[in-house]
């Protein structure tokens, strides 16, 4: 059975060229960039080369604006905690959209525990940040705003330049989580006036365990990890040079190849969305039809639950993900879906298909047929399918049992 991997948002296979590059380094370039000898200098050079390549991918003006981290979660933590704790300028409000990644959401929660006011910018039914609302929420007390270029779960993209204009007009700064967007849609920190941007290597087909934070010159942050003072004192710890070099190479390849590849994936995406929504009843698209990532097809199927859908698909070699509560560690449905779908039950029936370089348009027919069969099978055993559903009643029951 040929595996069809449609879960690239959760992890990408590494580019074969990057693997090869890293293999060479493991053996030869294990030096510590802080060492004074040849191996150390060699490592330092590799580190700085990568910095330059990553800077180029996102249009940063100076390579020194790139801080390497252990991944996007850490970058998001560093950006928000590092900025909020450093800039004691009287402003005490942090604004994030309602559909930010869990790492942003939980950092915001932590900051609110530390005494910051956190406000959540609402989105419309497609997941687009409501700009007039944002303009109301961001005020003269606002320190920093964090809104992603695009959402990896529902695919919706934002008008980041319009957002940064609003944010800067209030004297705040803008951080953006670029993880699902970089290498898929045009991202340029200078054009879009982004002050900090989070990047992940693995999403560019580079190694895991490495990421970066773009920090525009003049933006002052403090570290969240203390030690030897690496990365301009903003991220201590011996630099993971082989992985950083792999990241740099992945960024370089992306820079050259992303436009063509995005066009190709967009065609697969559109065929997937069209086939599934037209062949399966009560199947709906999550997010915006056109203002979306080229590699994201996010859908929901009424009457069934996502984890059982994903497990069934896996039995047919199709790998995907869901935002259902039952698949998550906290047993909460995805807050992203909850922000845009009509109710919890629809959120539970979600299916996220995220495309990558290894997918082919020829796979769409097979994938669609399997999904259709599995949805039918699960609906046949669902007490919710084919019956009217009074959600209000269930909601009251829930509140009742909560009150116990």
């Amino acid at each position: 059975m040929r595996r069809i991997f449609l879960d690239h948002a959760s992890g990408c296979p590494m580019d074969a060229r990057v693997i090869k590059h890293m293999e060479e380094l493991y053996d030869k370039s294990f030096g510590n960039p802080s060492s004074l000898h040849t191996l150390g200098l060699d490592a330092r050079k590799k580190l700085e080369d990568s910095r330059e390549k990553v800077a180029k991918l996102i249009g940063a003006e100076r390579k020194e604006e790139i801080i390497f981290t252990s991944g996007a979660t850490e970058s998001n933590n560093l950006a928000l905690i590092g900025y909020a704790l450093r800039n004691k300028n009287g402003r005490r409000k942090v604004v994030v959209s309602k559909i930010e990644h869990i790492s942003i959401m939980n950092v915001a929660k932590y900051l609110s525990k530390l005494g910051f006011e956190v406000a959540y910018a609402p989105v419309d039914e497609y997941g687009r940040v409501k700009l007039p609302k944002l303009d109301e929420i961001v005020d003269s007390n606002t320190l920093i705003v964090s809104i992603a270029y695009a959402n990896g779960e529902i695919g919706t993209t934002q008008d980041i330049r319009a957002i940064s204009d609003i944010v800067h007009a209030k004297g705040a700064i803008l951080h953006s989580d670029g993880v699902p967007a970089v290498g898929r849609i045009p991202v340029n920190v200078v054009r879009d006036q982004v002050d900090m941007l989070t990047l992940s290597s693995n999403d560019l087909y580079g190694p895991k365990g490495v990421g970066a934070l773009y920090v525009k010159t003049g933006t002052r942050i403090q570290p969240i990890i203390f030690g030897g003072g690496q990365e301009k004192g903003l991220r201590s710890g011996t630099e993971n040079v082989p992985a950083i070099a792999g990241f740099g190479m992945a960024a370089e390849i992306m820079y050259k190849e992303w436009r063509e590849e995005s066009e190709r994936e967009k065609q697969i995406r559109d065929k997937l969305i069209d086939t599934l929504t037209s062949n399966i009843e009560q199947a709906y698209l999550n997010g915006h039809r056109t203002l979306r990532l080229p590699n994201n097809a996010s859908l929901r199927f009424i009457g069934i639950e996502g984890e059982s859908l994903v497990l069934n698909l896996d039995a047919y070699g199709i790998m995907a993900s869901t935002g259902s509560a039952c698949s998550s560690k906290t047993l909460e449905p995805s807050h992203v879906l909850m922000a845009i779908v009509p109710n919890e039950v629809e959120a539970h029936g979600s299916l996220m298909l995220t495309l990558g370089r290894d997918n082919r348009i020829e796979e769409v027919d097979q994938v669609s047929t399997v999904i259709k069969d599995v949805v039918s099978k699960l609906r046949a055993m669902s007490p919710l399918w084919g019956k009217p559903l009074d959600l209000e009643e269930w909601r009251q029951k829930m509140e009742h049992s909560e009150g116990e």
Partner: protein, 166 residues
């Protein structure tokens, strides 16, 4: 989180799926808002569960435990069936991931509800002990309050029992 082979087998080929139109007892547990809903139907003959069917909206564990409880309960007396615990269900499935232990609750509770329904239709009331969920996990200290509404009985982090009968 890894399901046992047995869970996967039951999940992929669930036994006794469906409805019993003229059921003697029907139990519905869970809440679709939380992502799980189970309806269990029983027929009772000579004090024994002669037929049992289910419909489930929920995760792989919810479907597998539903399937398993129908197998465990079939042909048992009502008294025997009432004694089936969530642990029996989990054990029969060769274990469940800690975070999914509550799904075996769902099945055990559903059966209890169906039997209660059977009795109440006949004017009998089953008395119940009240079970409460602790504030924090006694083993790992995980804060349990936010999970109370999921009627959990095991710690979502470490899997130890977190309920107390009062």
């Amino acid at each position: 989180m890894t399901y046992s082979e047995k869970v996967l087998e039951h999940f992929r080929n669930p036994r006794n799926v469906g409805e019993i139109i003229d059921a003697d007892g029907v139990g519905t547990v869970g809440n679709p808002i939380c992502g799980d809903l189970l309806t269990l139907y029983i027929k009772v003959r000579d004090g024994k569960i002669s037929d049992i069917k289910f419909k489930t909206f929920g995760c792989g564990a919810a479907i597998a435990t539903s399937s398993m409880i129908t197998e465990l309960a079939k042909n048992k007396t009502l008294d025997e069936a009432l004694k089936i615990t969530r642990n029996d269900v989990a054990n029969a499935l060769e274990g469940l991931p800690p975070i999914k232990m509550h799904c075996s609750n769902l099945a055990a509770d559903g059966l209890k509800e169906a039997i209660k329904d059977y009795y109440s239709k006949r004017g009998v009331k089953l008395d119940e002990k009240k079970i409460i969920v602790l504030d924090d996990c006694p083993s790992c200290g995980f804060e349990l309050k936010p999970f109370r509404d999921k009627s959990i009985k095991f710690c979502p982090r470490c899997g130890v029992k977190v309920t107390k009968e009062v």
